[in-house]
Structures are given as C-alpha cells and as structure tokens.
Amino acid sequence: MATRDVPAKTAEVPPPMMTVGVMGWARENLFSAWYNGALTIVLGVVTLLALWFGFAWIFGPADWEVIAKIGGRFVIGQYNTEAACIGQDCFWRPLAGLMLVTMLLGMAWGVAGGGFTKRVAITVTAVAALAAFIPYSFDVMGLDVRLLLLANIPALFVGLALARYTRLGTMKWIAIMSVGVFLLTLLLLRGLPWVPGLQPVSVIYWGGLMLNLLLAVAGIALSLPIGIALALGRRSRLPVVKMLCVVFIEVFRGVPLITLLFMSQVLVPLAFPENFPQNSLFRAAIIITLFSSAYMAENIRGGLQALHPGQEEAARSLGLSGWQTTAFISLPQAVRNVIPAIVGQFIALFKDTSLVYIIGMLDIVEMGRAFIQGNPQYLDNAQELFIFLALVFWVFTYGMSYVSSKIEGNLGVGSR
C-alpha cells in the first residue's frame, strides 16, 4: 500500500509566500479597519501638506545667505578674529587639531580592518576635504585654509599606515593617543606665550561647533568612568561612600544644568582670591561632565541590578576577588546591557553643550543668534538659521546613534 511508504526524511517545504503585493500590504497595514483607514488618510494629507509647503519654502522664498555670511564662525566662533588672535593668523590651529583627529580615525580604520570604522573615517575625511571646495572667494576663504582642509586626506592615510606598519596599531595605543591628541589640541588652541606663532588665545573667544565638540568629547570621555565609579559607590557596603555617592547623584540630577552652569560662574569665584586665574571654559566642562556623570551612574546601576546574581556567585566561587568580579564579570555585562541608555545620555550631553551661552560663550547656536542680533538686516532669516542648526545637531547625533548601533552589533548585544 502506498501509505506504508514512509519517506526516510520529511521533504523540505519552503515557507509560504508572505508578499502579497502593494495592494495587499496596504490593506493589511494601513486599512485593516475603518479607524485605521481614517488615520492613514488624515496623516497622509497632513504629511503631504507639510512637505508641499516645506519644500515650496525651502526652494522658494527661503534665503540662505545668512548661513554663508556666518560661514566659518559656525565652526570656530570668534577664534580667528583680531581681538582673539592679536597680530597673527590662528586659523591653522583648529585645522591642525582636525587633522590629528582624521589621523586617529585612520589608525582606528587600520586596527578595525574595515567595517563601519572605515566608513566613519572616510566620511569624516571626505566632508573635511570637500569643505575645501566651498565656493567662497579666496578673500573670504584663503588657499591656505583650503590646503589645510585637503591635508586631512594624507592625514587619514598616515594614520592608516601607522596602524598597519608600526607597533601603534593596537586599541591600547589608539586610546592613549586619543587622550594625547585631545590634550595637544587644547594646547594648540590655547597657545603658549613663549612659543612664537603660538600666541595665547583666551578661552572666551573659543566658540562655534569647535566649542560644542570639545565640551562634548571631554564630557563623554570622563562621564562614563565617573559614572561607573558613582554607580559602584552607590552599591558599596561602606555607608560613608554610599552616602556621598547618593548625595552627589541626587544633587547633580536634581538641579537644572543651566542653574549649575550659572552657579559655577557666580559662586565659584567667591571661594577664590580675586586674582586667581579664572577659566570659564574649564568650569563649564567640569559642570557638564559632573551633571552627565550623575545620570550615567544611574544608567550603569540599572545595568548592574539587571544581572543575574548567579553571575557573581559563579565568579566568587571560582576564587575571583570582589574587584576582579566587578571588573571582569559584572561591569562588562552591565555596561553592554545599557549601551542604548548610555548613548542617549551622550546625545543629551552633546545637545546640552549649547547651554554654555548662559555664561557668555558663543557656541554654534549662540554664534548664529548673536550674528542676526548684531546684523538686523538678517533678522528675517532666523528660520533658515535655526533649520540649519537643527540639521547640524541632527547629523552629529545621528552619527553617534549609528556608531553605537554598530558597536552593539559587534558586541552581539541582544543576541547573546
């Protein structure tokens, strides 16, 4: 009988077809019920109207001249003005800092061997190099500036070669050199009185995107380790350590950043002699870092609490000490479990750097706002200005999201 012929192996059957065409998809997802259909139509009409008027404005009456007028001041603020850099040209210093960064990215590319690190390195270098071809006249943007921007391309490949052909091609060296590059850039920007050509530039003239990025990089690099220390401290069995950490976290989380920044400017000087050197940028960086650390601590603590207690028990039963258990078992798992929250905090920190306007520093937003206030003929172009600023912030924060999602993928977060 035919029914007795049982096949040795069940035949492989392909999964049923899931695609049902555009109409089928729309019926299933957009018009599955009368209220879904109504919502789809209303939202569709609103979106179309917004796009129609938006594009009509952008390509019609919008006047983007204000963006071109501000130009390089978006990037470095008043850094290269006569007041800031007396009798010298200082434009090359931030550009040299940028070249050091592209060199580091080249090294990272060399160590990672490709993937998203390569894409990030090439994108940053390409944007910097393409900026050399901005159609300003040579009076506004000199050949020297353009050549220094183009020099980012060789800088990238110098970094790549350093990573591939020297002993510097390890993560450890990149970490060390990143700290070095950051400090060297600060030194370049600040200048040294006894070095000819490196005339000191007061930090009150540092501005534009450069200021946002410096504050953000310092804040990001320091708030993670400080946050980890605070999170561990808050879980400590020592009551004094625990209490200090709780008080720190609750105070810095409980007060608005803008208030903290303001207090740092008006209250801190009271505690020091009148002639004590005052560095408003330094103080702002500390406040932003500590503020972010308090939030970071709670993110990390959440990650630590989510760990299965068996992890710690297994580590302890192997004879690992408390610190070894924390360093090799608990923290690595806690941090990778809360990467989304950590990156969210980094993004918030980057956007918050704009608040330094409260202490009179001209970050990219304040630079634009101050420009149209000082040049009333552009007052009507505030819309164009703020759309541009929003786009700049979005590009950087999206870059951070992109990098973090790639790091999550590489660490296998969510899949193991």
């Binding site: 028990e313 297994a314 004879g319 090799f328 193991r416």
Partner: protein
C-alpha cells in the same frame, strides 16, 4: 531524630572503612543558618573524607542546597564550625578566597559568563587568580574541554551551546582551578531529558578519578552508581546518613521511606 544520629552513622562508616578522622577534608559541626527568622539549617554535623562522593537527597526546601553553599561560603553559617581542608571558614576574606579557589561549584543554571567565549570562561580564573600565563591556561582549558567532550566549541559563546554542553563547560571551568572538592547544586535539573546523560557521564568519570564530590541531585540512578554515601536532608537537618544500597532498599527512617516512595 537529629544530627547526633547522623554523626553516629558517620563514625560507623569511618570505622568500617578503616579511615582516620584526620583525612576528613570537610568537617561540619552543629552548623546553623537562618534566613531572617526561617531556620534553614538546624545543626548539621557531618564530615567528608578525601576522594569520597556524597550525594545529598531531600525534598525541596530541605536545606540541601543551602548546606553545600555554606561550604564555600556563598551562604554564611551563623553558628557552628565548618573546616575545609584544614582551614576554618570565618569572616576573614583571604581565608574565604583561598578556600573558594580550592572548591569548584557547578550550579543548576550553569552561570557561564555570557560575554566571554567558552575558552575565556575557562581561562579567566586561572589567569586572574592563579596568575597563569595565557598560553598555559588555554592549553589546560583545551585539555579539559576534550575531557568533557566538546573541544570544538572553544570559540563559541555560551548562548550558542545546548544546555548539556553549557553545563559541561561549567564543569570544565571549575576543574581549571584544579579544585580539591567539587560541589554540584542540582546540575541536571535545568536540562532537557536527552542532555542529562552527557552531564552525568562527565560527573561519573570525575567521581571515578578520585575527586571529592558533594552532589545535590534527584538522579537516583547516577547516585546509586557513583555515590559512596547518601545524606538525606529534611527540614534543615540530616535525617539519615547511609550507604546508597541500604538507603534505597532498606531506609531506616520514616521520612526517608516517604521521600523514596515519592521519587521512585
């Protein structure tokens, strides 16, 4: 019936075997443990000779897991003495850490480190605690993985392995510290039936090699084969201490009989 009965039995066993008390690698005297107001261990007194395989049976909540967890101080006992390999378990942290590195523990839920590859799970403690160089630790780890039958899984992450394979990695991870004593806390309870045997085989082989083992398990077949002695726990105390054969065929206590009628 209380702990004194168990103690008598132990002395009998020791006398029969002609062993001296100074070969006891674990000595427990009147060990008490409370969780809040719950009295989890009510005066446990027993000892384990070097190379002995002791299986601990008992209904859930009887204190058997708590008991073996006090032996490497994952739980602190509050009264009585525990002496492991000549060192008394006290609050002195250095004592505890040196004892823990001498005692391996295998958990019901494996507790492998999910962020580390199989090989790194095994080499971590030898490298950090024993300060072995990586090459030596890895060589040793591969030998152990071969012993538990899964050398080809060395570069995978724990989540890519089956439950049985994970538990065998967990055993290899503990063996890498070259422990004198291995504790097993229901090592097969979380496994699918077809994977239990592969883990029990590894444990059986370990028992034959002369390792001192304390095993909390419900696998009576394995227990009968491998164990030198049974401890039957109920309500936080040792109710009966006996040879496997005697316990399974001719239990002395009513509570033992009731328990056996429920699990067999």
């Amino acid at each position: 019936m209380d702990a004194s009965n168990g103690h008598e039995n132990l002395e009998k066993t020791a006398a029969n075997g002609g062993e001296m008390a100074d070969e006891d690698i674990i000595i427990c005297r009147d060990v008490h443990k409370w969780f809040g107001s719950f009295h989890a261990l009510k005066g446990v007194t027993t000892s384990v000779r070097e190379g002995e395989v002791v299986v601990i049976l008992g209904p859930s909540g009887s204190g058997k897991s708590t008991f073996i967890r006090t032996l490497n101080r994952l739980e602190e006992h509050q009264r009585g003495d525990i002496i492991v390999d000549g060192i008394e378990l006290t609050k002195d942290i250095r004592n505890i850490e040196s004892i823990r590195s001498e005692i391996g523990m295998v958990f019901q839920s494996f507790n492998l480190f999910p962020h580390l590859k199989v090989i790194d799970n095994i080499t971590l403690a030898p490298m950090k605690v024993r300060k072995w160089p990586r090459a030596r630790a890895e060589e040793d780890a591969m030998t152990l993985l071969e012993r538990v039958g899964i050398p080809e899984q060395a570069d995978k992450y724990p989540s890519q392995l089956s439950g049985g394979q994970q538990q065998r990695v967990a055993i290899a991870r503990e063996l890498a510290m070259q422990p004198k004593i291995m504790l097993f806390d229901e090592p097969t309870s979380a496994l699918d039936p077809e994977m239990i045997k592969e883990v029990l085989d590894v444990m059986g082989e370990l028992a034959e090699s002369g390792m001192t083992m304390l095993v909390v398990t419900h696998e009576v077949g394995f227990a009968r084969e491998a164990a030198d002695r049974f401890l039957f726990f109920d309500h936080g105390e040792i109710v009966e201490e006996n040879t496997p054969k005697e316990f399974l065929t001719n239990p002395k206590e009513e509570r033992s009989k009731l328990f056996l009628s429920q699990i067999l």
